[in-house]
Symmetry: C2
Subunit: 459 residues, 2 copies
C-alpha cells in the first residue's frame, strides 16, 4: 500500500451484536426450480428425513430436506456462540485495488477471524448443538486441510461431545499442525484411508498407496458413526443444511455492504463442496430471483478438480464407498482421485445439490483456477492486505483478480465481493513450496474425466 | 464450557472506531520516580536523543527519552492502520472461570486477532511509519519466536520499506512457518548468530554452537543498520517507545472494562522485554499513581529466564555485543544464554528501564513460571475458550490461573485482567511436543546467575 492508499485507509465494517442474524436463509424454499430429490440408494425412492436419522442429528435431517421455510431460526445458544467471533469484518480492499490498478471496488468478507481461522465454525457450532440437544455423545467427521475438523473438534468440546476425525491422508501429511490443533481440543484424528473401517480397508486393498480424498474420509466417518452407539456423523460442506448455516455470512455481508453504501455486481467464493460459496452467495441471490438485482455469482474451483466446469450433472454418491444417499449433482464420479494440490478443502468430486441446480439453471457461473495462479493471487493479496489467505481462499482471490483486471481493461467500476473463507497460517509449508518453485499445475484430459464418470457409474 | 456456561455466553466488548485511542500514554511523564538516564557507553554520560539518531528514526529517539509529555498523539496514518484490526476484543472468560471453579471474574484482552497474530503490530506500524516519514529505505530488526519479525515485515511492506530480520536460531528452527510468513511479505530472514556481521562472527567464534538469543540477534540487526546506507534499526520490545505504542492495548481495555461495568483488581501479562506488559498495565497504573486505585500488576516471566524475580538492578547492555546504550535495568547479564524454551519471545536477559524502575519502587510484582506449567495452562485455556495461545501468552494464563485458584481458596470475587498477547497457531509443533511429553522445565542456580552477571560486567 502506498502512502496515498494509507490515507484512504482500509475500511472495515462491523455489525453490532444486535445485528447478527437471528435466522438462516433457506434458499431451497425460494429457488425457481427446486433441486431434484435425494434418492435412497437401495430403493431409488425420494429420501425422507427419517431415512437420514441413522446418520445425522434429526433436526439437521429436517433442515436438509426443508423446501418450505424461507427463514429458519438460529437457536439462541448457537447465536450466543456466534457472538464469540461474529460479526466478521467486511473489508474494502483498497490495498488490492491499488496493487491491481483497477477501477473496480473490491470488498471481502473476512471469515478468517474465527478462532479456528475459517468459516467452518459457522456450521460446526449448530451441528454440535443439535447433536447435544438430541442426546448424542460422540460425533465423527471427515476433514481435508483440517479447517472443518478443527472447527468440529472445538465445537464438540464446547458442547461436551467426543469427536473422531478422519483427515485426508495427503493433508494429514501436508499440514501436520491442523492435526495438533484438533488433538489440543481432545479430538481423535486418523489419516484416511485407514484400516479402521471396512470402507478404508477396501480402498487400501484396491490401492495401497491411496492418498485419500474427502470422498474416502466421508465413507470412513459415516461407517464409524453408523456402527458406534450414540454417535452421529457431521459433514463440513456439500449438504444443504451446511450451506444453510453458512448463510450467516451473506446475511451479515448484505447489511455491511449497505453500511458501505454499496451492493455487489459480482460475488465470488472458492468451491469445494459449496458451503462457503452458498453461505456468501445465497442471501444475495434471492434478490436476483425477485428480479430486483442482477448480480453475477462465480464459484472458483481448482483446475485439477473441475466438477462445475467439466463434470456431468447426474445422480451420484457423496462418498467413495457409496454410503450416502444418491445426490443429483455435478460430479466427476464418486471415486475420482484429485491431484495432491495444497487446497485440501477443494479436493472433492461433487457439488452440493442446491448449487448444482442453480448452475444448471444459469443463476451462477463457475471458473477453474490453476494451482500456481491461486498461490500467485494469495501472495499478492497478502502483500496488499496483510492477511495470508488459505490455499482454498486463494482460488476466490484469483477469480476476483481476473474480474478486476477485466474492469481495468474496460474502465468499468464494478463492485466485487469475495469470501476470504480462511487464513493460511497453518498452510505456510505450502507457501514455502510455492515460493521456492516446487509447486506445479495439474490438468486433466476430457478422456480421464469421462472414463472416471463411467467407472463410478458402474460401481 | 457446559450448557450452563453457554447460556451465560462468552461476552466480548468492542469499541467503535471513534473510541480507538487518539494518543498513547507516556508513563515516563507521570512516574513518581523517573527511570535513571540511559548512558552513552563511551562517555558514561546521560544519553541525548541525537546519540540515538544513527540507530533509530529520530522521532522514536525523542519518544524514547521523553519524560515530559503525558500524552503523545497517534499520527492519523498510524491510527488508520490500527483500524485494520482494532479495537481488539476484551473478553469475559466464562469458560476458563468455570473450568477452574473460581469465583474470580477473568477478562482477557485478545491481541491475537491482529492479522499477524499478536500485539507486535501495534508498534511495528508506527516504527515503520516514522522511518518512512524520515526518508529511510531499509529497516532491520531481531525476532525471537517471529511475532515481531512478521509484524515488522508486514508494516515495512505497508510503508514501502525493505526489511531484514535476524531471527534467533533456535526459534528459526523450532518455528519455520514464521520465517515463511516474513518471506511471504518479502522480508529477508537470517538465523542469528550468523556470519553476516562482526558481532555474529565473534559470537560464533567463541561458541560455534550458539543457539542465539534476542541479545545476539539485536547486536546483528544494529550492526547491519549502522553499516548500511539509509537504514534504521527497529526494536520489538524493551525500549520505552515500544511500550508507549503498546499502551493502545491498555487504553482500549480501560474503556472496555467500563463497558463491562468492571475494573481490574489484578492485571497480568507475560514478560520478555516488557512491551505487552507495559502496553496493558501502564494505562491502569496511572490510577494507582494518583491514589485512586490499588490494582496489583503481575509480570509473568519464564522460570528459565528470571531477570525480574532473580536478576540484579544495574546498568547493562541491551544486546550481547554491547552496541546499545547502557540501560538501568533488572538483568541476568547481557551475555546470558537462556534455555531453549518454546516461548521464544521471552528469551531475553533484561527488562525495560520503565518496568525495572516500577518493580524496584514496588508498583508491580513478578512471578516466574516453569515451562510445563505454562503449556498446561495454555491447553486448559484452549479447551475452555477455543483459542490456542502463544507459548509466551501461556505464561500470563498460568499466572492468572494461580491467582484465580487463590480466589477459589479464599472465596474472593477478584477481577483479573490478562493480556492474550498472541495466538499459538504457528507454534503447534511446540504443543505437539508438550502433548507427547517431550518438554521439560529448566531451572537455574543462584551461582549460575551471579557468575553470568559478573562475567557480563567484566565485558
Amino acid at each position: 500500500m502506498s502512502a496515498n492508499n494509507r490515507k484512504k485507509g482500509q475500511k472495515r465494517y462491523l455489525l453490532s451484536e444486535e445485528d447478527i442474524p437471528r435466522s438462516w436463509y433457506n434458499i431451497q424454499a425460494e429457488m425457481p426450480v427446486k433441486p431434484a430429490p435425494l434418492l435412497n440408494p437401495a430403493t431409488k425412492q425420494p429420501l425422507k428425513p427419517d431415512d437420514l436419522f441413522p446418520i445425522f442429528a434429526e433436526e439437521l435431517c429436517r433442515q436438509e430436506l426443508n423446501q418450505t421455510d424461507v427463514w429458519i431460526e438460529i437457536p439462541e445458544d448457537v447465536r450466543d456462540c456466534y457472538k464469540f467471533y461474529r460479526s466478521t469484518p467486511l473489508v474494502r480492499a483498497y490495498g488490492l485495488e491499488e496493487a491491481l490498478g483497477t477501477p473496480a471496488k473490491i470488498y471481502f468478507k473476512n471469515e478468517s477471524v474465527s478462532p479456528m481461522g475459517s468459516h467452518k465454525l459457522n456450521s460446526a457450532i449448530p451441528q454440535a448443538y443439535y447433536c447435544k440437544k438430541e442426546g448424542v455423545k460422540n460425533v465423527t467427521t471427515e476433514t481435508g486441510a483440517g479447517q472443518w475438523g478443527a472447527s468440529l473438534a472445538y465445537a464438540a468440546r464446547m458442547f461436551g461431545l467426543e469427536a473422531a476425525v478422519y483427515q485426508v491422508k495427503i493433508s494429514y501429511e501436508q499440514k501436520p499442525y491442523r492435526k495438533s490443533i484438533m488433538q489440543t481440543f481432545g479430538a481423535q484424528v486418523t489419516p484416511s484411508p485407514s484400516m479402521s473401517t471396512r470402507a478404508g480397508k477396501d480402498i487400501l486393498t484396491a490401492s495401497p498407496n491411496h492418498q485419500g480424498s474427502l470422498g474416502t474420509a466421508i465413507s470412513e466417518a459415516i461407517e464409524l458413526a453408523t456402527t458406534t452407539p450414540n454417535c452421529k456423523y457431521t459433514l463440513g460442506s456439500v449438504l444443504s443444511h451446511v450451506s444453510l448455516h453458512q448463510t450467516v455470512i451473506g446475511l451479515e455481508a448484505e447489511k455491511q455492504m449497505a453500511m458501505a453504501g454499496d451492493y455487489p455486481d459480482i460475488v465470488i467464493a472458492c468451491f469445494g463442496g459449496g458451503s462457503n460459496f452458498g453461505g456468501l452467495a445465497f442471501p444475495f441471490m434471492r434478490h436476483n430471483f425477485s428480479g430486483e438485482r442482477n448480480t453475477r455469482f462465480i464459484a472458483a474451483e481448482p483446475e485439477s478438480c473441475p466438477k462445475l466446469t467439466r463434470g456431468v450433472f447426474t445422480y451420484d454418491f457423496g462418498d467413495e464407498a457409496g454410503y450416502t444417499p444418491l445426490l443429483p449433482m455435478y460430479t466427476l464420479g464418486h471415486n475420482f482421485r484429485p491431484a495432491n494440490i495444497h487446497a485440501g478443502g477443494l479436493r472433492y468430486h461433487g457439488a452440493g445439490v442446491i448449487v448444482s441446480q442453480l448452475l444448471k439453471d444459469g443463476w451462477m457461473e463457475a471458473v477453474d483456477i490453476p494451482q500456481l495462479e491461486s498461490f500467485e493471487a494469495g501472495v499478492l493479496f497478502a502483500k496488499a492486505e496483510g492477511i495470508i489467505p488459505a490455499p482454498e481462499s486463494c482460488h476466490a482471490i484469483a477469480a476476483t483478480i481476473r474480474e478486476a483486471l477485466k474492469c481495468k481493461e474496460t474502465g468499468e467500476e464494478k463492485t466485487i465481493l469475495f469470501n476470504l473463507s480462511g487464513h493460511g497460517l497453518i498452510d505456510m509449508a505450502s507457501y514455502d513450496k510455492f515460493l521456492s518453485g516446487d509447486l506445479q499445475n495439474y490438468t486433466i484430459s476430457d478422456e480421464e474425466i469421462s472414463e472416471n464418470i463411467s467407472n463410478s457409474n458402474r460401481k
